[in-house]
């Protein structure tokens, strides 16, 4: 063992002098810039990266390792590349043993600079992943040299990459090409496209700057502005004039007060006793007196402001000097506008649909119990929570996420079905025909269950993670996209709608449930046991809540308060939709989901306001349709 180590040391000693010779330029750059390699900054690292890149293949390997956070520094200040268990000297490429390198952690800005420096070389790299990464780096911003390199490397064995390269070339042409005609052509080529990268290339061309000028200004004028118009209110125009140094700013009240205080003599300012100066008019008089005496500089007057406004014109100038380019860009933007609006609408619709399906899943169980038994189960939210925690527990036991989900869904149903039946047998059955007391009793159950969950699982949010195939999103283009998990929830909601309809219309149980809902007395007379039916419905409703819990936990947080966030919305859904009818619940969920998204999009800065308005709307809606969108018919409706 010792001999082996000795041997290794000898071998290393042999290699070391040679090592220093392998890439002396790189070695020098590293030792000169150790400080910056250790603590690089995006702003200043560029020259160093270029120096390292210029030293040859070892330099590029070092850069790649640096960017991937595989570069370390040994105690002696040698750069080493760590790859799994192997440690290679960055300068020589030889393995190094027995060192504990301190790994370097360049921030993402620095890594961006490094990646960008390697773009030109990586565009023709044999590794497709690396070529793709180079295109990613290029898409974040390029230089004219990189555009040239890209044009030289448009060919690619991978057809996807060919398309990406061609597209990127067009985009970079718009941004970087010197030839105006080429840029205009590129803009025309892509006009009507709504994707984010094209708009990102287009919008900077149309960026405007507001200027004040006595005559016609230099540059590419977008438009002249009328003072007092919506685009340029009078105050804004005055502010521009003040900024331009043409107009003296108006005296603020604080400045006036300071000036008066500075000229306080014998309890008087400008001949006015100080006690009277709590009146603004008196202050103005005092100031005028001081001004007349020459004690304070004269303040700007209204007449001066008018004169300055009359003497100046206001313009919006494009930052882009070429009118041809801005014209083409403007035309392309207008063409895209309508499509963009439509697509934003569709995206909003998808969001609304997703929210509606979540509300539907959460409310369907409630609707069933309320419809059949006229009782509100306040613990419904806690059943949702139980479902989510069941999902979490299963996931801690079964590592495979797909399998755990497959197990969790029926298990959550079973657990909450059982809980629902127990709640029915122990509490609700004894409170039949006393709906308000049922409401309160189930509320007691709700707070007990919530606290129990806290005691068992803690107050911390628990992770419930979707399987890999549900990660990511379904994307049509840069505007229309929805996360896969939401699509899955939508499908789940549809599934339950179908299942529910099947049970209600095609099974014996459904027939009996409908009979009890419509006329319990008659149903009982026909030999149906209303008690058993009620219990089954209650279990079914609770079971669906459990499944909804798993679904909600997949995209939101699993906490003991999970159910609370949905319970009021679920009530709203049931009440708005109308009781005892699945289509009513569906309509209610759609209305509430759609409405809250529309309100949210009208007021994007404040999600809270959206919720308030939604609830207000519902309160008013109930005024006009007190029995919901689809009211219940039959004798039960009068009860």
């Amino acid at each position: 063992m010792t001999r082996f180590r000795l041997l290794a040391a000898c071998v290393m000693a042999l290699f070391l002098p040679m090592a220093a010779l392998a890439n002396p330029a790189l070695d020098a750059v590293i030792s000169d810039n150790l400080g910056q390699i250790e603590k690089p900054s995006r702003r200043s690292v560029q020259p160093l990266v270029e120096q390292i890149a210029a030293t040859g293949p070892e330099g590029l390997a070092l850069l790649r390792a640096w960017s991937d956070r595989r570069l370390g520094l040994t105690a002696e200040g040698r750069a080493v590349i760590v790859d799994g268990s192997s440690v290679l000297d960055a300068v020589t490429g030889q393995p190094v043993f027995g060192v504990e390198p301190r790994m370097l952690r360049p921030n993402s800005g620095v890594r961006g600079v490094i990646d960008s420096a390697m773009v030109a070389g990586a565009l023709n790299d044999p590794d497709a992943r690396r070529r793709s990464a180079a295109l990613d780096a290029l898409a974040r911003g390029g230089t004219p040299e990189q555009l040239a390199a890209l044009r030289a490397a448009l060919d690619d064995p991978d057809p996807v990459l060919v398309a990406r390269k061609a597209r990127l070339e067009r985009l970079l042409t718009i941004q970087l090409d010197k030839d105006t005609q080429a840029r205009v052509a590129a803009i025309r080529d892509m006009a009507g496209d709504v994707s984010l990268d094209f708009r990102a290339a287009l919008n900077p061309l149309l960026a405007m700057q507001r200027v004040v000028s006595a005559g016609q200004p230099q540059g590419n004028v977008a438009r002249e502005l009328e003072v007092g118009s919506d685009a340029l209110p009078r105050d804004a125009a005055l502010a521009l004039l003040v900024d331009a140094g043409v107009l003296q700013p108006r005296l603020t009240s604080a400045e006036q007060r300071g000036a008066l205080a500075a000229n306080l003599r014998n309890g008087q300012v400008g001949g006015i006793p100080v006690e009277q100066l709590s009146d603004p008019a008196a202050r103005d008089r005092a100031y005028d007196a001081l001004e007349a005496a020459g004690a304070v500089p004269p303040a700007a007057t209204e007449a001066e402001a008018e004169a300055a406004l009359a003497a100046h014109r206001f313009f919006d100038l494009y930052a882009e000097p070429s009118p041809e380019v801005t014209d083409a860009a403007r035309a392309a933007q207008i063409r895209a506008q309508l499509r963009l609006g439509a697509m934003t609408g569709i995206d909003l619709g998808l969001d609304a649909l997703s929210l509606a399906s979540i509300y539907f899943l959460a409310a369907i169980g409630l609707a069933v119990t309320f419809g059949v038994m006229r009782v509100i189960n306040m613990a419904h939210g806690e059943f949702i929570m139980m479902g989510a925690y069941t999902g979490y527990t299963v996931q801690t036991l079964i590592a495979d996420r797909t399998l755990s989900l497959v197990v969790a869904l029926p298990l959550a149903f079973a657990v909450t079905f059982a809980a629902g039946v127990v709640l029915y047998r122990l509490v609700i059955r004894h409170l039949a025909h006393r709906p308000l007391e049922t409401l309160l009793a189930t509320f007691g159950v709700s707070i007990a269950l919530q606290q129990l969950a806290k005691n068992i699982f803690g107050t911390q949010a628990r992770p419930l993670t979707a399987p890999a195939w549900l990660e990511g999103s379904v994307t049509v283009n840069d505007v229309i996209s929805i996360s896969s998990i939401r699509v899955a929830i939508f499908v789940l909601a549809l599934l339950f709608l179908g299942l529910f309809l099947f049970i209600m219309k095609r099974t014996r149980l459904g027939l009996e449930v409908r009979a009890v809902t419509q006329n319990p007395g008659m149903a009982a007379s026909m030999g149906i046991n209303p008690d058993r039916i009620a219990m089954m419905t209650f279990g079914l409703g609770s079971g669906i809540a459990g499944i909804a819990g798993v679904a909600i936990g997949l995209f939101a947080q699993v906490t003991s308060e999970l159910g609370q966030g949905y319970i009021v919305q679920s009530f709203m859904t049931v009440v708005v939709g109308g009781v005892g009818n699945i289509w009513g619940t569906l309509a209610g969920a759609t209305l509430i989901g759609g409405l809250s998204k529309v309100i949210e999009s009208l007021n994007p800065g404040n999600t809270l306001a959206a919720q308030t308005f939604m609830i207000l709307f519902i309160i008013i809606f109930i005024q006009f349709r007190p029995r919901g969108i689809i009211p219940q018919r039959g004798r039960a409706a009068e009860a």
Binding site: R42, N203, S483, L608
Partner: protein, 427 residues
């Protein structure tokens, strides 16, 4: 046999004498005012345990002034009026000499009038929105200039962010922080339309629209960065939606001010790698004090998976500063301790020291961390200790204000008119 008994007796007598030495006199009582139930229990329980651990460690070292410490724990149950009630109880019924407590700004505002009325001493360990300096409070968390502003600087300098989305939960800390950031960014030449602000309710879970809005900001061709003051559980849904939308940290980096090691433990962080957080401490900080602190924490809780976080460090610094001030003043009375505490220097956990400033804030280094796969942070930037500024320089009304307790005996001193605006705090 008799010999053995004698030895035993002698030993026990010695032990007793020793114990008597450490526990000479009445125990010194300190109050712990953290919610143990309700919505804030998740965060605050940890801090209660931290104080109990520190008390235990201090007593093992012989207590303070030769007297043992005793922690009086009460539960304000995340109910803001209850914070005031319990604070009064601690000060008048339990007669505590110092209180360690509060998390949310509103709980601090609730306690403030009581503490000022009864001349108590509160150590407040959480990053907050600033705009306050009370005679009776030592702010051991970060002021905005010790977290928000350096973080934004980092995003501009190192990530090249030009367009900003300020997302927050709708309460005072995000509101004020975003106001300060808004003014700061504008002073740096960022245009009004390049700042997008959104507020969501506590525990918000439907993030699809907001994430889509943020992504759409990129249509200007400017690099977009998100500054998140989203609080607590709502972060889980937010990050899940972010991951689902495929927003990588390279495209749209998210800088969070309220997401630490504790919050990440409720998440699968694989898709969040590279997103950022700004604090004054991360568990991954490399220093001997930190290693010892984490060991002590694991020993105290009996759980080696428990993480440490920034407010815990702030609690520890506050506790040690109080102990040092009491030793220096020779008494636990509030006024001498307050006189003594300014200028006290205690080691922090990131390899430096924290000094208590005349405005009752601390000097703290600013750390930026990138989220790792294991739910910890890679520290990618660490500054020298920055002195905490009670009144921000970026809002016109606050820029003229200064706090200097030993010098001017005022927490809201107008440097223009050279007068003390008010001695009591705003609630």
């Amino acid at each position: 046999m008799t010999k053995l008994t004698k030895i035993l007796m002698l030993t026990s007598a010695l032990t007793l004498a020793h114990a008597a030495h450490a526990q000479e006199g009445e125990p010194i009582k300190i109050g712990v005012l953290h919610s143990l139930s309700g919505t804030m229990a998740i965060s605050e329980t940890t801090l209660k345990d931290t104080v109990l651990m520190l008390v235990e460690q201090q007593n093992a070292k012989g207590g303070v002034l030769g007297r043992p410490l005793e922690a009086v724990v009460v539960d304000p149950a995340s109910d803001w009026p209850l914070f005031a009630e319990k604070a009064r109880e601690l000060l008048t019924v339990s007669d505590v000499d110092a209180i360690f407590g509060c998390w949310t700004s509103v709980s601090r505002k609730s306690v403030l009038p009581v503490i000022e009325e009864l001349n108590g001493l509160l150590f407040y360990p959480v990053q907050y929105e600033g705009e306050e300096s009370s005679k009776n409070v030592i702010y051991t968390g970060a002021a905005p200039n010790q977290q928000a502003i350096p973080a934004v600087d980092y995003m501009t300098e190192e990530l090249g962010v030009e367009k900003w989305a300020l997302l927050g939960t709708d309460y005072v800390y995000p509101r004020t922080t975003n106001n300060i950031l808004d003014a700061y960014l504008k002073s740096k030449g960022v245009a009004e339309e390049d700042i997008f602000v959104n507020y969501t309710p506590f525990g918000h879970s439907d993030w699809s629209k907001i994430v889509a809005d943020v992504v759409a900001l990129g249509a200007d061709g400017k690099k977009v960065g998100v500054v998140s003051t989203i609080n607590g559980d709502a972060n889980v849904g937010f990050y899940k939606e972010l991951a689902a939308a495929g927003v990588s940290a390279d495209d749209i980096p998210v800088m969070a001010f309220s997401v630490g090691e504790e919050e990440l433990s409720g998440l699968d962080t694989a898709n969040l790698v590279g997103h950022l957080a700004a604090w004054n401490y991360f568990q991954t900080a490399e220093s001997d004090q930190n290693t010892a602190f984490i060991e002590g924490w694991h020993e105290f809780t009996g759980d080696t998976n428990r993480v440490t976080n920034d407010p815990m460090e702030a609690t520890m610094i506050g506790f040690n500063a109080w102990v040092a001030a009491v030793e220096k003043a020779g008494t636990t009375d509030v006024d001498p301790v307050l006189d003594a505490i300014v200028g006290i220097e205690v080691p922090n956990l990131t390899g430096g020291t924290a000094t208590v400033l005349p405005n009752h804030h601390l000097t703290k280094p600013v750390l930026i961390g990138e989220i790792r796969e294991d739910g910890q942070f890679d520290i990618v930037s660490q500054t020298e200790p920055v002195p905490g500024d009670a009144w921000t320089d970026y809002l016109p009304e606050s820029a003229v204000l200064d706090a200097d307790w030993p010098g001017k005996d005022c927490g809201m001193f107008n440097t223009q008119t050279n007068s003390c605006v008010q001695v009591q705090s705003n609630y």
